[in-house]
Symmetry: D3
Subunit: 336 residues, 6 copies
């Protein structure tokens, strides 16, 4: 593979080395039919106070996931420099064009940012954003918190998560940060296909990396907003950037031991959940059915759990297409 | 206004006077660029057994509301002629093109079916559907149950509802049917602008009319599917079509006494609910805020309740536009 | 209904009363986002020589039917004034915006011109075109020939046709013109739902009206182009506008006695014709099947003829949707 | 025609009878797939100080015309109640959805607001806006100033204009207001087809009505912004609402005596102007040519002036379509 | 070029090594705005019976070509394991998203599958499908039959075809399979630009490769369905997988000796074929003309054959654009 | 990087070595859903007379810039072989699909041609065009003139321009050609990010390269057409291809010394220019403001010049988005 040497086209309007609070933009030139010399303007906030670790906090990696943006616009507006030690870099909407459109992927190039890493400085808009994070922002960070939720088409039990990693010391730091986040559920993930992910890029640089899934459906509730806001403060406290101990709360650890956890629909139709998120399910139990819609009286397809566990994720819209993930069953486990 | 005398272009493939269970279609010719002699095929089921009242049961009046379709496809598949006395006409997806597309309005003509009544036989596809209900199906019915939910952009506390009506005897029958439905909440509605509604058309014909709002967000849960399935059976029992007494459950009656119940956003932005559905709110309390998204550090707009009550409905998507209804506060009341 | 008194916005650039050959346009103002003061320019040709009857010849009433436009652009280019007696008005593409787009209906307003008669001077673009024909061109005509084919989604045996009419003298003149056209097949039509048709508007004015269906599929062949070119000359000869006798050829008369002639698909799928156009079919014989496409091994739906006859029309594209007309069986009959 | 008796669905958030400066909205409910309970929010400003005449000032009747919005957003922000006597109602963007989209017509229903008057309370969004102006705002006004420019597809010499009117006293007041506006050019207009216009609706109510065309191309310059800002103040001064005399400037009166003033393209192609706006042209002179673009070496079409005068308007984009208005020649005249 | 080592994301739900008949899918994960965890589900059927050669049978490489899908859905449904010896792998719709949409290329990424080989496991959806065939399915096959037709925009004489190949033994086997197919015409092809083709990929692996063109226009007839069904059985018989000798029929071999065979339109317009498919043409004869459509009386462009032969292919739609292939003339030849 | 060895798919229908005038096309095969065997047909004209230098003249590198196409269609139609010595290759619309659509980038693949060099023979349509110029046309040329204007979204003072180059002899020849062009303004450019530009590709081959910006807004005036026509003749005269001396005119040289010349908008809104093109501005002066449009009374954002100079370019449309270039200030300088 080619070594990337061309500088990023992104220009930040903030100075990462300046103490105090700065609100600005990452300006990415984007020439298009309706603006020959236009740009994408990604909001960024930097709060710095002397020496100390750097936390990089990101939301809207997928544009239709809202707990991150709500917690981070709120944090950026309210965090004061003298409340911290070190530096906090806040990008509430990484894939800003997708966030503006309320879609998972970018309306510009259909780019899924979390499959575009490490990015390219001469690629599409989404790859250019990935490249800027890889080469300019991640190197500044010690700890990285990237918020996800299910977006418009999936719904999850609210959890923070980290990956099993080859470097056990790094893994320990990651799981400690997950524990500090203190969501109702916590997940230990083994990524099968990690190609193109922000997670992988950060982890390979040795960063402490925490991610979340905090419900979904393309919406947000007062309850999940609270989880997100408390979680990010807890992580900053755990890192020593904000003073005080994390506000701990009981969390249930989960595991997805195999591909049997994932259930896919084999036909198009009307989706009827038989179990709700958080319900316990036994192997063989019906968790959902899909009704053909063209005619009354047709027999629905029943989908069953392949293992015992808890319903941890589900398809969200009322209609479903063949090939869509219908539900995910996770198993209960102990803290790692 | 012109009296409509032209016959409907709709052809039913079922015989409304035949005993037994029939599954068929309402075929509405629809010439278009990709099918010169095409048709819209709206699934319909008729279950009849001797003499008795007729119930007309409908879902997907708005195409992105799923409790109705799930309960009605299920009922149509399982209800046997010998379990009833009279007739049950089931149309699980009234605005079938909208239902197929998963959208509130019809993709054919952007028609909002519930604002298209009494319809026109020479109008657009949506008006032709309305006209067929007005002139052919409603006259067959004694009781009409029309399922609604919030759709992709609103979320509601689950309730059944009926309108205050000038004919107090008819009104009593309607509220009795609402009570029989036995949703967690029940609503007494005073419609301000009833022009074009299916409700009004049915009520003006003297029918017992019940409607619902059973959550929303363009999805469905196991819980709300159960409410809908039990509700429709309860209504059929109450009407004497299915044997047995309705399965009663506690319900909380609600009222929306004035336009102060409705809160509208005055700006575009990121929607942060501060109260969740079912939360009690006091006049003056913040119920939601809207964050400008173009820049961190901007001050959000706070929206407050104008009266004491319960949060009964809210905007669903994570982004909001100026003019969108942000939330509805209802007051608690006694059964009418 | 309101009497239309407002003048048409259409301006012709030809003089209908001038002898000789004129090529010009019907200019219909059409303000739109990409041309505030734009117009639709419908090509028109007038050939006139002294006194005599007037023929109004039209193609592309539906924009994706090509035998008419090919025969009429050809005729307009080659017909000389001294070859005729009377007047020939040629509009090769009535719904010119649809013709430019190659679609059945107008891309401007989705107007199906043949369902927009008599039209409105203050309606959409398609209604304005209809209105101009109704109030300005049809009154000039003695005989009207309107070319149709199946368009992109239907295919027909090549036939000329006229309607059964209450005025038997007018009907006789129409069938004589059909016979003069001398297509391989000829059809006697009983229109069920004639509302909005150009045919009806012309017939109610007492005009001799001939129409055709000359194959389809959104294409044209050398063979059907020849049928159309010879047909139009034959009709002009029969009317005494062009000298000489029509070039007669054997024709088979057809009838569509009832709605049983039409077979509709009840499901989406892959369309497999079992009979081709012109094949004789017996009642009960399979004429086509529809394969579900989501999975191999599924049983296809078989569709059968309801009466004995000839396969006169069929669905054209390889995929079919529920509600599409799959095939038409016509019966053989004697010349009326 | 039916008398409209249904109240408008529009709710203003300002009180037209209150003294002082108010900034608010006209809220028009608009249910759609992406907001079931959404609204259109048209900004409005009311400045009132005691008794006196009322001026109704409007821009963006067509959404891509900018001198009006710039002058009126500026006026609304800076005008103080104590600077006036009477009332000024400012709606900088009448067809707000079109203005937001930067298009002539509304993206919601393709409505051309200036062809939608008097409007309908039960029509599309654009007709509902027209209806509100007709029944609620125009009755409040004594003088009406409606800003236009050429929009994205036309360019004009900058002029204010009024219509020849049957009531000569009203006409005189209109031309006096035009003269007060004091644009570089002034136009006396005879409207051929006035159906649906805001102008006609206001004039028929006896209002003093002034309109403008102030360049175009979908843009605005510092020069035309100045003309617009000075013009509106001059009109308010002339009406006695703002103190002082209008800032007079030389103006050249123009006339468009016949349809020969308008030149239309007969073919698609590349537009080459041979005369610029303001150039004097003689009858028979080439004013523009249109080059076929498919092949070099093709002969362009030349278009000539039909009468002596000044080039007062022209097609703007570099490409042109058959039927587009290519140029308008006006004649010089004396002040009426 | 990089060696591809990453495994395909495609998961088959069939076991290629199991005896019997299996109907399943190739599941290709496809994350998108309307299904974050969605998949493309390509139907596949495997019929296996003991030892023997493997045939890989494919249709809808281009999504708007129907003889292959009809013959292969039919074969998959009816072929029994005990009727064969060896293995038959049937994929009736290779580019399933294109097939569902009825388009040549994929609606997902506009990918032309037959220009996407050998594919990429990290490319777009179409490249991922190509990659799976290249690395997983082709290696299992001895003989490959890939059905094509003209699609929506071209029409062909019905023929089977194989390429001239450097390995004369392989070429012989290919031509023998073409002869066995026994279509009305057979073609010996010399591919000029073979980059990206499935054909080339299979041939370079040494497979016996047969392809077809069996009419077109985006439709199918009973006649061409029969040719396809008989052809595939004949090829399986010839390969010894199905018992018995191929049903032989007379075939006319064709050749396209040079680029002079292809005639291209130089202008947009209305397409008038002067020769039909199968007509003999002499060099210099007019085969089609193109009429300008903007004005009657314009001279059409005539296109002539450059060599003697038979009209083997033609443009299908009634309108044509500059640069479209208008017709192909093939020469008659002996069996190779 | 890979050496490109695959031949271009483009076929020219002109012979570059033949004396005389030829009008033809560059035919680029482009398979698509609506034409399986379609092509892009780029008009080209070659005028040759004996020995002498070759000029390559191009327009519509961006499809919405019209001075180049008008001057070059005109030149191609009127230039006679005996008027020149050497060769003139004219491509009035390089990115022909973009030019047809009137858009900056290609509607086929959204390709910005001037960021697609040196191109790829196996890339998208835009890259294939770039590749053909790089490998086939540029090698034939001694002098290259590429016309630009601002397009639909920018407007410029009319200038010709050349780059500062490492080879001072080549640079001198370029600036001499700029001076010969004799536009009202002339620019000495230092390109920051030259990756992908036609300019760079030509300059690196040692060609004399001249470009222009001749106003903009997606239109053209009689004045700028004259500048372009005279400029291209002047350049041909200066090169010795056309006889005679260039028609000299006064020109003002400009410079853009730093990134401070460029002013970007930080918010969406209504664009109000305070200075017009050609106005002198002082550092700190307001050059434009941006009004928020959602509500009257909001404070606009003011944008100021960062250095003294002349307003050389500006945003064109009446609305502006965050990140759009609002204006460019250039400094006055001496001829280089």
């Amino acid at each position: 593979m080619t070594i990337i040497t061309r500088p990023s086209p992104v220009t930040p309007t903030v100075d990462f080395d300046r103490d105090g609070v700065q609100h600005g933009h990452l300006r990415l030139p984007w020439s298009r039919d309706d603006s020959a010399w236009g740009s994408i303007m990604i909001p960024i906030c930097v709060v710095k106070n002397g020496e100390g670790p750097t936390a990089l906090l990101t939301g809207a990696n997928h544009g239709d996931e809202y707990e991150g943006p709500v917690a981070l616009f709120d944090l950026a507006r309210t965090l004061k420099a003298d409340e911290i030690k070190g530096r906090v870099i806040v990008v509430p909407a990484m894939n800003y064009p997708a966030f503006q459109a309320g879609t998972r992927t970018s309306p510009i190039d259909k780019g899924n940012l979390n499959r575009s890493f490490p990015g390219r400085s001469d690629g599409g808009a989404t790859e250019k954003i990935a490249d800027y994070f890889t080469r300019y922002l991640l190197p500044l960070a010690d700890i990285v918190l990237d918020f996800h939720s299910g977006g418009r088409t999936l719904d999850f039990l609210p959890y923070a998560a980290a990956h099993a990693l080859p470097d056990k010391r790094q893994e320990r730091a990651c799981f400690d940060a997950v524990a500090a986040f203190s969501a109702p559920y916590s997940m230990r993930m083994i990524e099968i296909d990690a190609v193109g992910m922000y997670d992988t890029t950060a982890e390979e640089m040795g960063k402490v990396f925490v991610t979340t899934e905090l419900s979904g459906g393309g919406t947000i509730s007062a309850r999940t907003a609270s989880i997100a806001k408390r979680g990010v403060l807890n992580v900053l406290k755990q890192a020593g950037i904000v003073a005080g101990a994390p506000e701990a709360d009981a969390t249930q650890w989960l595991d997805m031991p195999s591909s049997d956890c994932f259930v896919f629909s084999e036909a198009d139709g009307l989706f009827e959940p038989v179990k709700d998120l958080g319900d316990m399910v036994a192997a063989g139990e019906i968790i959902a059915r899909v009704h053909p819609i063209g005619r009354t009286g047709s027999v629905p397809f029943d989908y069953r759990a392949a293992l015992d566990g808890v319903l941890a994720a589900r398809h969200f819209p009322g209609l479903i297409k063949a090939g869509d993930c219908l539900a995910v069953v996770a198993t209960l486990t102990e803290a790692p």
